[in-house]
Amino acid sequence: MADKTFTDQNFEEEVIKSNVPALVDFWAPWCAPCRIVSPIIEELAKEYEGKLKVGKVNVDENPNTASQFGIMSIPSILIFKNGQPVKTIIGAQSRENFKKGIEEVLSL
């Protein structure tokens, strides 16, 4: 799988200090709309391999990261650049919408 698993432990190393922008999918197993988003995110991980680091944070298991970024609704997709969240996309969206968000960040 092209997408990674981010945790409270590795978030700093993998996302904040990442050399390339990072897309983080905040999800949980009990969240139905997250199940719609997951396969789209996995596809995008492949499509943007090398340009964008893509991974998931299970909010059940990693409450600190979720609360640090004020997550109050899932799925929430945050895109980080230089350690900062620069784009937030909340709720299940079409593939095109996610791509638009990614392209926006990559062109910054």
């Binding site: 709309p33 899932i74 079409s94």
Partner: protein, 303 residues
């Protein structure tokens, strides 16, 4: 060229697809970026026949989709953007492509109706939500309100009690619209209280929700309430805005004649997009079946 293009992938659209493919009609479902419809935002569904222990809404939809795929339905997981219904074959645009169909079934259902008060829109996902099963988790030991008085408001409130400290149901009229069984469940729960004759007039907070302004519509009294979450369950609006040339009623529901037909010959309709009355998964599925049978009949008449 498809025999039929079904726009929408809730119980109406997917049931229609099962029937049209089994009738050997080449079928495309424009499923949308978020496929599956309203049931994808629910937890357990206890009133869909055939599941004595209930079934999770998303699992039910996945099963319906697999059933439709088994008979050869094609799916496009893109949003419908526009349709040209002026001449047959109809041209249906989704994503970047245009698809042609001899017949169309509109089954786009309905979406959450928001309160439309100041402070709401920008705080969706920051304390404002329409999906307690998705978001209740983030309100552990917090105080929330649910706006609405129907079954879905009761369900949202009950889901929230597993996490929140207190849940107030805010309802604009004096009596609930919810079924007796749901009312009883909610009223029995010690965490849930009710504010009747009360409307939310403003949602407060900068970054996230910190409170609401409430107005008692009997006394006119305005008050403020500190809280962390506002769950909106005041009903739905039909997804019909993109259908030009298709007749609708004053509320935006598609006008139906002879059970499944629209004003355009060859364009049929099924489910919550025309039905403001029953709005059940099982009735939507039934309407999907009816529309599919009529499409099959209509196509034979065209030959």
């Amino acid at each position: 060229m498809y025999d039929v293009i079904i726009i929408g992938s809730g119980p109406a659209g997917l049931t229609a697809a099962v029937y049209t493919t089994r009738a050997n009609l080449k079928t495309l479902v424009i499923a949308g970026g978020k496929w599956g419809g309203q049931l994808m935002l629910t937890t357990v569904v206890d009133n869909y026949p055939g599941f004595p222990q209930g079934i999770q809404g998303p699992d039910l939809m996945l099963a319906m989709r697999k059933q439709a795929e088994r008979f050869g339905t094609e799916f496009i997981d893109e949003d419908f953007s526009e349709g040209d219904f002026d001449s047959n074959p109809f041209k249906i645009k989704a994503g970047k492509k245009t698809y042609e169909g001899k017949a169309v079934i509109i089954a786009t259902g309905a979406d959450t109706k928001w309160l439309d008060v100041p402070g709401e829109k920008e705080k969706i996902g920051k304390g404002v939500s329409s999906c307690a099963p998705c978001d209740a988790f983030f309100f552990k030991n917090k105080n929330v309100i649910v706006v609405g008085g129907g079954d879905s408001a009761m369900e949202e409130a009950l889901v929230l009690t597993s996490f929140a400290d207190s849940v107030a149901v805010v309802h604009r009229s004096e009596t609930l619209r919810a079924s007796q069984i749901m009312q009883d469940k909610a009223k029995k729960n010690p965490k849930i209280k009710f504010l009747f004759n009360t409307e939310v007039t403003k949602i407060l907070g900068d970054e996230k929700v910190t409170g609401t302004e409430l107005k008692n519509n009997k006394t006119g009294e305005v008050s403020k309430m500190d809280l962390d979450g506002v769950f909106v369950a005041i009903g739905h609006i039909p997804n019909t805005i993109k259908f030009k040339g298709v007749e609708m009623d004053e509320k935006g529901y598609i006008k139906v004649k002879d059970h499944t037909r629209t004003n355009i010959d060859g364009v049929f309709v099924a489910g919550d997009v025309h039905d403001s009355h029953y709005r059940q998964a099982v009735t939507a599925a039934g309407f999907g079946c009816m529309a599919a049978l009529e499409v099959d009949h209509w196509l034979r008449g065209q030959e």
